[in-house]
Structures are given as structure tokens and as C-alpha cells.
Symmetry: C2
């Protein structure tokens, strides 16, 4: 079968399944999620075997250690998948929620009802547990899903897909509600992202290269998660002790996440009280500091930051530091260089905190808090399918609600317009 | 100047203006709206003169009567523009609204703040009053706007733009907050819709051809308003009297609007009690009826409907009618043929009404109500910039809220993640 026919068949099945799952009851969806968890629990042995084959093939292909690590399923990672499924089952069902139902002067009642988006395409790289995570969130939010994982994880993904099938069928749902692409050919992705008749939204999960490639070529709306070049600004009126604690946590608690601090701004009037102690702590953590001229004068053993540094997401133990005249300069610098992901201010000045919240144009804006909190679980969304750096539809961590939309509902009793 | 440079300059000015208007106060934005209203009121004479020149040029070019009518400004249409501006000034400001601010177990507070989208590009056809309507809604919602009207209305649009400039400046705002393209070359649109660095969303207003062309070529998200092939289903358990009243209103109250009824479905068991009387009323209104076989047997002088009719938005005094076995067939027919705009059911059966609301996948779903109510004013949005038939971001009538997005805000007191 050629790839276009393959995607057309798959897409048509997804469309029909979307209709089915959109009106499934909460009980039915939860039963499916719990059955998938059970099937994964019972299928551990076969999951690990399939995964081992992927790992061996990866080794032969010379995949690097980091990639092999992301590809690997362990007993503990399987436990996490199972726990995740049970947790999604325990979340409130967003579908069908009616809000703002009000009487209008004409006598009709107008409100909004939360509804699924339809068919969601997830394109991701090596981590096979994404298969389970993404499928569970789409299922609970009443959407059909088409999953396309990395070619290096194909056997692991198929083994997980088999467990998902068992769970769906035992809950009386079509297995077309979640479909995993079983062909490796890259053209399949090209077909999938140019078929708005079959797919309502594409969510790519992976490196920046993957996301940019898909965004450029897609004819379907894409929920993008691009860079996380996150800033912390320590203001003149900041509490020094809190600021140092937060600045260290934001950078060093984990280096590789999108909400890790990448660039620190400090008001000139407080820099001498903050930076020497803070940089000493960073250096103890082996964080490489790249500073502006003024920072270099205050602290020893610092590399000079260049223009490129202000726009870079290091995703590692490197931090750029700039001393700024005041909050105006900090706000302008952030709005110019940031990737609109997460920015935070340290200040005890209420008016300035309010202004920062209002004027910083990023998906998460924080006061006196570590940027590391920018996460669906920490925000109380229950789980997240990704973080959106887009402006339309969803900004920031995307949970179940971000996988739905709202339609208008109107109730009358024979009302006509005059 | 070449067109690319022209759009780059215009786009850069819009970006800077977007930053300014996003943090303007409510009072400042309202002052600008009221000043624009005053400037239009005082500039009536020059508006009418510019419009007359456009009309004369249109006549020479041989524009048809309908187009010339849409192009024309009258004293009454100018009054409506002024009234619209004052009404938008009186609406609540959506920007900065904080919702769902809650404490999380970690001790941080997480909520959402409503924020402007940034720069909105409006591409429209002949009606010059759109210049004023669109600019006022974008301004109130804190966005910068780039407007591109039809070439036949260029002098009228420039005259309105001059009034907008006066209003913005008298409120201390940059006139770059609202920019009207003053070149006719179609390439300018091509440039505008492929520059996401300058424009955050494109809203085309006009015929289906325009909207499809822009959607295909755009590299910027588009809020689309495609067909309104709206359905009314009269169920077995409908009240006959109410149903006839609503069905007549939905079709005949206005023929040319997107929420006008285009296809009527009637349950077989009630058809003989409803259709003869209803069709007589339609025929008195000179509505051409195209019916299925069964309808033709019940009512005389009816044209046969073919497959194409079920998918057609007539925008005129034509209606297709189909007799269906039951609600299942009606729901399936609608979800297959509708353009997901507005659909309504007539029934006294509570369970079925709930099911219809849930299972019909359209931007507005109604019970016992005329489809003609699908309108921003009737829904209480205050005003509308268009109606979205998309699923992401906004569905149905788009008011001020649809021109904004929500970011997360996080408040702490030195909180760190552990």
C-alpha cells in the first residue's frame, strides 16, 4: 500500500473514532484508562523484550548514550506509566462542562460547552512512554489520537499500542480511538501534517529542529513548544536572601528542562550585595557564568557574554548574567530576548510586581518564585501534554483543557429573532 | 519603496505599537475610542466626499449594484459607526483580568491573566465601515491592528484612517496602533500573511474565495469564517406550532446572513403534521423548496433536491428539506453535511435535547430556537469581529475575549522547587 492511501485509511478511521469517543461517558473513558494500566502491568515482560530489541538495534546504529537512555524502558518507568494512567483516570472530565449559561434580553439562554478538538496527531522522538502519556490525555479529553513515535522506538511503541488496544476494547471502545503509526517512512509524517480533513491539531514533542520542521510544513494547526530562554530579574527592592535562594534553585535544580533559568538580570544598585555570594554558589555547582562588563568587574573568573548569549537556551550548567540600570531596562531586555516561555521577578515592591506581571509577554510570568515551577503538575493541571509557546488557543503548560475547545449552546422555548 | 520593505516597516511599527497598547489603561483606550467617534462625527463631510470618489470610480469600473451598495457610506451608516465606537468604549476591558488564582500544595499561587494577542491583521473587502469596527475591537482588546480593505474603498478607508489617527493622538497613543495599508498592490497581502514576526493572527472578512485563498497561503494563524450551512431538525416530540414559527423565522427573517437556515430536517412521524402548513408559509414568502422524495410526496410544487443541495449554503430564498427516520439519522446527516456553524433542534424531549447539544459538532448548537440568534450581539459579547468556524482558539462569534489569550501568573514569596 502506498503511504498516501495508508494515511487516508488511518485518517478516516480516526475521524470516525473521534465521533465515537467525543460522546463516550466519563465512566467508559475511565474504564478504558484503568484497563490500559492493567494491560501494561500484565504485559511488562513483553514490553521489556520489545524494548530490548529496540535498544540492541539502537546500539548497532550507534545511537548516543543520551538517546539510548531516553529509549530505555525499565520496571520503574513502566510503574510511572501505569501510575500516570490511573492519575489521568482520576482527573475531572472536561468534556461537556457548561459555563456562563445566562439569560439574554431576548429570552434565550446562552452558554458555552467544552468539547473535544477531534483528532490529535502527536509526533515525538525516542521516549516510548510518550505513547502512553499522550494517548491517555487525548482519550480522557474525548479526542481520537494518531501517534507517530521515533523509528528507533518502533517495537516498544507497538508493544504499548497493543496494551492500549486491549484496554480500549475491554471498555467497549473502538481501537481506532488510539492509532500508532507502524511504518517508519518519514513521508508518513509529511502526509499526516498536510491533511486537515483528518487531523485537527498536531502536537510535536521533541527537539527544536523537529518542531520547526513540522511548523513550517504543516497545513494543520500546530501547538508548538519552542525554546525556553527563561529570565529571572532581581530588582533593587528584592529581598537578597530570598533572591539568592530562588536564583540558585531556578538554575541548578535541573539543568535540562525548558523552565530552567538561562539568563539572570540584576539591578545595578543591588548587584554588589547579590552577585558575589550568588556567583560563588553557582561556581560551587560548577555552573559556567558568562557575564556583562559590569558583572565581570564584580565577580572574578567570569567569561564575557556576547550578544548571542542573551538569546541562548543552554539546557546545561551555563548561565548568562547582565547588570541592568532598572526595571525598565530589565523588562525591555526580557521582551526583546526571551522566547516567551517563563520569566520571574524578585521584588518586594507591589506596584512593580503588578507591572511585571502585566508587561512581560511570556506564557508564564512569576513573582518571587523559581522558574522551575512552570509545569502542568505544579500548576494543578493534573498532567501536561506539553508547554505551548504560542499565543493562540493555549499558552504555557497544556493539560486536558488545552485539548478541548468551547462551543456556544443556546436554549429557547420557541424563540424567534425579530 | 518595494513592497517587502513597505510591509517590513509597517510590521515593525505595529510590533512596537502592540507593546504600547498592551499596557495602555482602560481609560486611555476608552478616551481614544470616544475621540475617534468625535473625529468621524466632525469629519462627515470629508468622509462622504472621499466615499463619493470611490463610488464614481466603482461605477466607471462597472462594479455591480450589490458591491456599490456595500461600498456606500450614508449619514445613517456613519451614525452606526459612531454608535459602534461608543458602544465598544462602554464594554468591559478584557485585558489584565485575573481568573482561577489558587494556592497550590507547594505554597505558590497560580492563576491566569487575560492578555492581548499582539498584532492583528484584518483583510476585508468592500465595506469601509469594517475599518472602524475592526479597529475599535482590536484597540479595546489591547492589540495593534493592520487593516487592508478592498481597493475599491481605498479613499473611504483612508478618510476613516485619518479620523482614527486624530483619536489615537488625542488620547496620547501612537497612531501606529492602527495602520491602514495605503497601497493597492495585491502582493502586499501576500507579504503580510507570510510574516509571523510582525503579525500574530489574520482575520479575513469577506467571501469564501478570499478566506480560502488567505488560509492556504498564510504562515500566520488565521481565524476563519467559512460557510454557514445551518440546519434545523424538527423532532417527533417537537411542538408543532413552535416549530413552524421557528422554522419560518430561521429561513425568512434575513436571507443573506451566515446563520440563516439552509436545510430543514423533519422526523418522518411528524412530517405530515408539519410540512404542508410550513411549506405553504414558505411558498407565501416565495422561498423555493428543494425536497427529498418523501417531502415531494407530502407537498406539491417542490423541486427535487440532489446530493449537492444538502451541502449548499444558498444565502438566498431557497431551502432544502429532508424527511429523516429519527434523531439518529438527523444527527448523522448534520455532522456529515453541515459546515459546523449553527444547528438547532425542535423537541420537547429533554434527554434528546441534551444529546443533540452534546453530539452536534458545530460552533453554535441550539434547542427550540431560531438559528438567526447566532450573533455576537445576541450572545452578549457586545460586538463581534467575525464568527469562527475553526475549532482551535475561538469557535462561533468572536468578541473582545476572542482577540485575547491567557497567560499563567505565579505568585510566591521566595518559593523554590524541591
Amino acid at each position: 500500500m502506498d503511504i498516501e492511501t495508508y494515511i487516508t485509511d488511518l485518517g478516516s478511521r480516526a475521524r470516525a473514532a473521534a465521533r465515537e469517543i467525543s460522546s463516550a461517558t466519563t465512566a467508559q473513558k475511565n474504564a478504558a484508562l484503568l484497563s490500559i494500566a492493567d494491560a501494561i502491568n500484565e504485559g511488562r515482560k513483553s514490553l521489556l523484550e520489545s524494548n530490548k530489541e529496540d535498544l540492541i538495534a539502537g546500539e548497532k546504529k550507534g545511537l548516543d548514550a543520551a538517546l539510548q537512555d531516553r529509549l530505555e524502558l525499565t520496571e520503574k518507568r513502566i510503574d510511572t506509566m501505569i501510575e500516570g494512567l490511573r492519575q489521568v483516570a482520576s482527573l475531572d472530565d472536561p468534556v461537556g462542562e457548561i459555563s456562563d449559561l445566562k439569560y439574554r434580553p431576548s429570552g434565550i439562554q446562552v452558554g458555552r460547552m467544552r468539547v473535544p478538538l477531534g483528532v490529535i496527531g502527536i509526533i515525538y522522538e525516542s521516549r516510548p512512554n510518550v505513547t502512553c502519556e499522550a494517548a491517555s490525555l487525548c482519550l480522557k479529553s474525548g479526542n481520537a489520537t494518531i501517534l507517530r513515535g521515533g523509528s528507533e522506538a518502533i517495537l516498544s511503541n507497538q508493544a504499548i499500542a497493543a496494551c492500549i488496544d486491549i484496554g480500549l476494547e475491554s471498555a467497549g471502545l473502538s481501537k481506532n480511538v488510539v492509532q500508532v503509526l507502524d511504518i517508519i517512512d518519514r513521508k508518513a509524517v509529511g502526509e499526516l501534517i498536510t491533511k486537515p480533513e483528518f487531523v485537527d491539531v498536531i502536537i510535536p514533542r521533541g527537539g527544536k529542529g523537529l518542531i520547526e520542521r513540522i511548523s513550517v510544513d504543516s497545513k494543520v494547526p500546530v501547538i508548538k513548544h519552542l525554546d525556553g530562554n527563561c529570565h529571572l530579574y532581581i530588582d533593587e527592592k528584592a529581598d537578597v536572601e530570598k533572591s539568592i535562594k530562588v536564583a540558585i534553585n531556578a538554575k541548578t535544580q535541573r539543568y535540562g528542562t525548558c523552565c530552567t533559568l538561562e539568563s539572570l538580570l540584576v539591578a545595578e544598585s543591588i548587584a554588589a550585595r547579590v552577585l558575589p555570594e550568588l556567583c560563588e554558589a553557582y561556581q560551587a555547582h560548577k555552573v559556567e557564568i558568562r557575564g556583562c562588563d559590569k558583572t565581570q568587574k564584580l565577580v572574578e573568573n567570569i567569561i564575557a557574554a556576547d550578544e548571542e548569549d542573551w538569546g541562548t537556551e543552554y539546557l546545561g550548567p551555563i548561565l548568562s548574567i547582565k547588570i541592568v540600570a532598572d526595571a525598565d531596562e530589565a523588562i525591555n531586555h526580557i521582551n526583546f530576548y526571551s522566547s516567551q516561555h517563563t520569566e520571574s521577578i524578585m521584588t518586594e515592591d507591589h506596584d512593580l510586581a503588578q507591572r511585571f506581571l502585566r508587561e512581560i509577554d511570556s506564557s508564564s510570568v512569576m513573582v518571587n518564585t523559581s522558574t522551575r515551577f512552570a509545569d502542568g503538575f505544579e500548576y494543578g493541571l493534573g498532567a501536561e501534554i506539553g508547554i505551548s509557546t504560542d499565543k493562540l488557543h493555549a499558552r504555557g503548560p497544556v493539560g486536558l483543557e488545552g485539548l478541548t475547545s468551547q462551543k456556544f449552546i443556546v436554549l429557547g422555548n420557541g424563540h424567534i429573532r425579530t
